[in-house]
């Protein structure tokens, strides 16, 4: 049997950071990823932060990957961060850029297929120099201990041994489940996030959002767009796409189930959002059925090709870098020439083939996932025997008001775990007392852990300052006393200290409530908001169309088994599964098809596994 010092299971941002760090420390490690390549199964909101906390230290992405700031495998650097309270066509906007910049070096919008792909390239190159590397398309099936050795069995390759294991396999960690290291997360501990990637040419984004070439905007939404659920919507600008989605408390969704796609649609229908995402779209005209079949076919292919050309040319025209490339390649002499060609193609389509050019928006990819709320489910001792748990697998996601962070936490965890394992290798001691405990202590010291346990009064102050313009009567009704308290510096310090003694969990129901995310914003918008008019009605794809757009490599072997087809929980899954995998047959909930995007929403009452190696969904953007 082959053996390796360290096996990292899961090639997300956390696992990859662990691999890179171990290589930085000259240790041999292999990383096992179930997807065809690392990054193909990851999806994020998402923004990647680098922090400079006042107390303590976080291991940031640029610390682990020296080339990060040079290569920047990211989308845009977020420079604007706005929160909108919505009610129908009225919006009240608060500028929270200070909150975004609080203790941060930067925050970049990211797409995980690209980002994790880059991490994987860096990490595997370093790992290979140490005799290790990344093995993709392999799904770990079981793990057991035999005579001091940890044997890992997979669906695809022969078993092998490892001395230490880092579990980075995400919120639905199978390693956690198969070892019993922790219980499966329950709805109150989770958020369900859903998003769509919207296409929008680069310079149009910059014009629309009032940002420069390397800048980005983040917009958050609360109010009626939430359909009365606890959580909110978001819209982040990527280089030439937008990430538009929503994140809601899973137990709030359980109480009153809404389909995930309905939730994201509610956001898209909001006039402010609709105006943000709109673009010019070519609509094919129906081909005359009276033409001979050959002519119909020829026309169909000709139109498709022309529209493809138009889109490609238009995207290039609106991108600084692409325009430059086109001119350098000699294909065009100037920008005017590109514009002229674009107009020509558009004209051809319109006059010869009756193609219409309308205002609408274009979706590229739909996705969803569960996110753990660290405040409620972070593992206190994130290890089990010689397995260290990192990131989402350890339940360590940060949710504080609008502040949602997971990528940077995972990277920080990954580095701490790598450090602990490296020490263990040096001492050849992988016991829980030496390795597990040292990792656990390191985690305790992480500023992120502190954020999961205590309120940061300085962060709180930012909100209070931002809420200056909010009419007191709206807030005052509910939080009057608290507000007055918090507004005074000294009292605030005392109050927060007291609150922290009481404990986050006592305060949470007050703060994370429908009032905060739904009612107050609605009132704010109604009473003080400005009116926003949508200039068109977005054509929203059906869920079937969204699923059809996704790429899958279907596995013949099923990876989900319904345990109790009659339970209330499963009945709700019929609504809550983002890809309609469940339906009611008679009185039973049955698995209709497996266009699963592996979010894990149904994991609680099913025998749920990730699909086998390379199988399942493959995200293009992530």
């Amino acid at each position: 049997m082959e053996h390796y010092d360290v096996a990292i299971i899961g090639g997300g941002s956390a696992g990859l950071a662990a691999l890179k760090q171990l290589s930085n420390l000259n240790k041999q490690a292999i990383l096992i990823e179930a997807g065809k390549k690392a990054g193909s199964k990851n999806i994020s909101g998402g923004i990647l932060y680098s922090k400079k906390p006042k107390h303590g230290k976080t291991f940031n992405v640029e610390d682990v990957y020296p080339e990060f700031l040079q290569d920047t495998p990211v989308e845009r650097r977020i420079t604007q961060y706005m929160l909108h309270a919505t009610s129908r066509d009225k919006v009240f906007t608060m500028n929270l850029t200070a909150a975004h910049e609080y203790q941060a070096n930067f925050g970049y919008s990211v797409l995980l297929n690209k980002l994790n792909g880059w991490f994987a390239k860096q990490a595997s190159e370093s790992a290979e120099r140490q005799g290790g590397g990344i093995v993709s398309g392999v799904h770990v099936r079981s793990l057991n201990w035999q005579n001091e050795k940890t044997v890992i069995e997979t669906d695809e390759i022969e078993p092998f041994e490892a001395k230490a294991v880092i579990a980075a396999d995400g919120v639905n960690s199978e390693l956690a489940e198969m070892t019993g290291a922790r219980a499966k997360f329950t709805p109150e501990q989770l958020y369900q996030g859903v998003k769509v990637i919207v296409k929008l040419p680069e310079e149009i984004i910059e014009q629309r959002f009032g940002i420069g070439p390397n800048e980005g905007a983040a917009h958050l939404f609360a109010g009626d767009v939430t359909l009365n659920h606890i959580g909110g919507g978001f819209l982040y600008t990527n280089l030439d796409t937008l990430s538009v989605g929503a994140v809601y408390h899973y137990d709030s969704l359980m109480e009153r189930p809404s389909e995930p796609y309905t939730l994201v649609n509610a956001l898209i229908k909001n006039p402010l959002v609709a105006e943000f995402i709109k673009d010019q779209v070519a609509v094919k005209e129906e081909i005359d059925k009276n033409l001979p079949k050959e002519e119909q076919l020829r026309t169909r292919f000709a139109v498709s090709k022309l529209i493809k050309t138009w889109n490609e040319l238009r995207d290039s025209y609106h991108s600084r870098a692409e325009r430059k490339k086109l001119i350098e390649s000699g294909k065009y002499k100037s920008e005017e020439e590109i514009r002229a060609r674009l107009d020509y193609v558009q004209n051809e389509l319109a006059t010869k083939y009756y193609t219409k050019f309308v205002t609408d928006y274009v979706e590229l990819e739909y996705g969803a996932k569960l996110v753990p709320d660290g405040k409620r489910c972070a593992m206190k001792k994130p290890y089990y025997k010689n397995i260290l748990f990192v990131g989402d697998a350890a339940g360590r996601g940060i949710f504080i008001g609008p502040r949602i962070e997971g990528l940077n936490v995972g990277i920080d965890d990954g580095v701490r775990a790598a450090n602990a394992v490296a020490r263990a290798i040096d001492r050849n001691n992988f016991s829980t007392q030496y390795m597990g405990e040292s990792y656990s202590q390191s985690i305790e010291e992480s500023p992120y852990t502190r954020d999961m346990k205590e309120i940061d009064k300085d962060y709180l102050k930012i909100f209070l300052d931002a809420a200056k313009d909010v009419p007191k009567d709206i807030i005052g009704q509910r939080y009057g006393m608290v507000f007055r308290l918090m507004s005074s510096g000294t009292l605030r310090g005392l109050a927060v200290g007291f609150a922290n003694i009481l404990g986050y969990d006592k305060l949470l129901p007050l703060v994370e409530s429908e009032d905060t995310y739904v009612q107050v914003p609605i009132e704010l918008a109604e009473k003080t908001g400005r009116q926003v008019q949508a200039t068109y009605e977005p054509t929203i794809p059906t869920i079937a169309q969204r699923i059809a757009q996704l790429k899958y490599d279907d596995d013949r072997v099923s990876h989900i088994k319904v345990l109790n087809p009659k339970s209330e929980f499963m009945k709700k899954m019929v609504t809550l599964c983002p890809t309609l995998c469940y339906s009611m047959e008679g009185g039973d909930v049955t698995l209709q098809h497996e266009a699963c995007i592996e979010c894990g929403s149904c994991a609680k009452e099913t025998e749920w596994r990730h699909p086998r190696g390379e199988k399942g969904v493959i995200y293009q953007y992530g």
Partner: protein, 300 residues
């Protein structure tokens, strides 16, 4: 350019073809319905790609040296580049000459056989791989005919293979479909050299961590090589291949295309005719339609 990761133990070659990309958005048709090759994008043929994957298995598992060759016009270089990306080829051959034009499979096989003999190492290639068939010509003849001219044992429909480097034997599994009977999986053993025609269902399978890591390593090498593929490329014409011009191109082709007729086939989404399932007359017509469709290929 000589490669750095070769073993003298196993030398393999792959013959590939550049083919039209039939997917929507890339394909173009003329007014008369025939393929407009000039406007249609060309890609490495899908079966050629599978053959390249099979060769890559030899590289990962046995450290084999891989050469890829194709007969075609200068643009066929891109097929070689795409193939190199798949199999980390150490050597690329383009057999190009105006004299090759119009070649049928026999004349093509003559060129390919000469090409294999020009592979570094005196042309001592142990295994030659080819795809099952080309997506445009689709005869499936070129592979076996090349094998025959080389004098190599031909193994078709291979779904799995392994090599015993000591005894110099290859063991392969073949999938044979017998019309009207059943499928047979045959395990066959043959001494090297052999010519393997890869079945479309072939999937290279690497079953240990170390093989997977080797896979990644060679993939990475393949990517960097493919970016500079021209450094690995040799372009050879009739003279350089040492072939008799009478045996190649149209002159060397027994068969010619005499005429071409068009069969339009609409693959578009359909507009259906709705009929009442209780209406006997309409069902009669449906039944007739069905038989007409089924009888389409039968000489009445």
């Amino acid at each position: 350019m000589t490669s750095t990761t070769t073993t003298k133990d196993l030398n393999v070659a792959v013959i590939v073809k550049l083919e039209p990309d039939f997917s929507e958005g890339n394909v173009s048709y003329n007014a008369d319905g025939t393929l407009n090759r000039a406007e249609t994008k060309s890609i490495l043929g899908p079966h050629s790609a599978i053959a390249a994957n099979a060769a890559f298995y030899a590289k990962v598992k046995y450290g084999a040296r891989v050469a890829v060759g194709t007969m075609g016009p200068p643009i066929a270089e891109s097929a070689l580049q795409q193939a190199q990306l798949l199999c980390d080829a150490d050597e690329l051959h383009l057999y190009s000459d105006r004299l090759f034009a119009g070649a049928d499979t026999l004349a093509t096989a003559e060129v390919l056989k000469a090409g294999v003999s020009k592979v570094e190492g005196d042309g001592k290639v142990d295994i030659v791989f080819s795809g099952h068939r080309a997506s445009d010509g689709e005869t499936g003849q070129t592979g076996p005919q090349t094998a025959w001219k080389l004098g190599y044992t031909f193994l078709g429909h291979v779904i799995d293979y392994n090599v015993d480097l000591q005894s110099r034997f290859v063991r392969a599994k073949r999938l044979i479909s017998l019309q009207g009977f059943y499928d047979i999986i045959e395990e066959v053993e043959a001494p090297l050299p052999v010519f393997i025609s890869i079945d479309p269902s072939y999937k290279a399978f690497f079953n240990s961590v170390s093989q997977r890591l080797a896979f990644e390593k060679y993939q990475k090498e393949a990517r960097s090589r493919a970016e500079n593929y021209k450094q690995f490329l040799k372009v050879l014409n009739t003279q350089q291949l040492g072939i008799d011009p009478k045996l190649v191109g149209l002159p060397g082709s027994p068969t010619i295309v005499y005429k071409v007729e068009r069969i339009p086939k609409a693959k578009a989404s359909r507009k259906s005719e709705v009929i009442d399932g209780a209406n006997r007359d309409q069902l009669t017509r449906v039944a007739a339609n069905m038989y007409e469709v089924l009888g389409g290929m039968v000489i009445k």
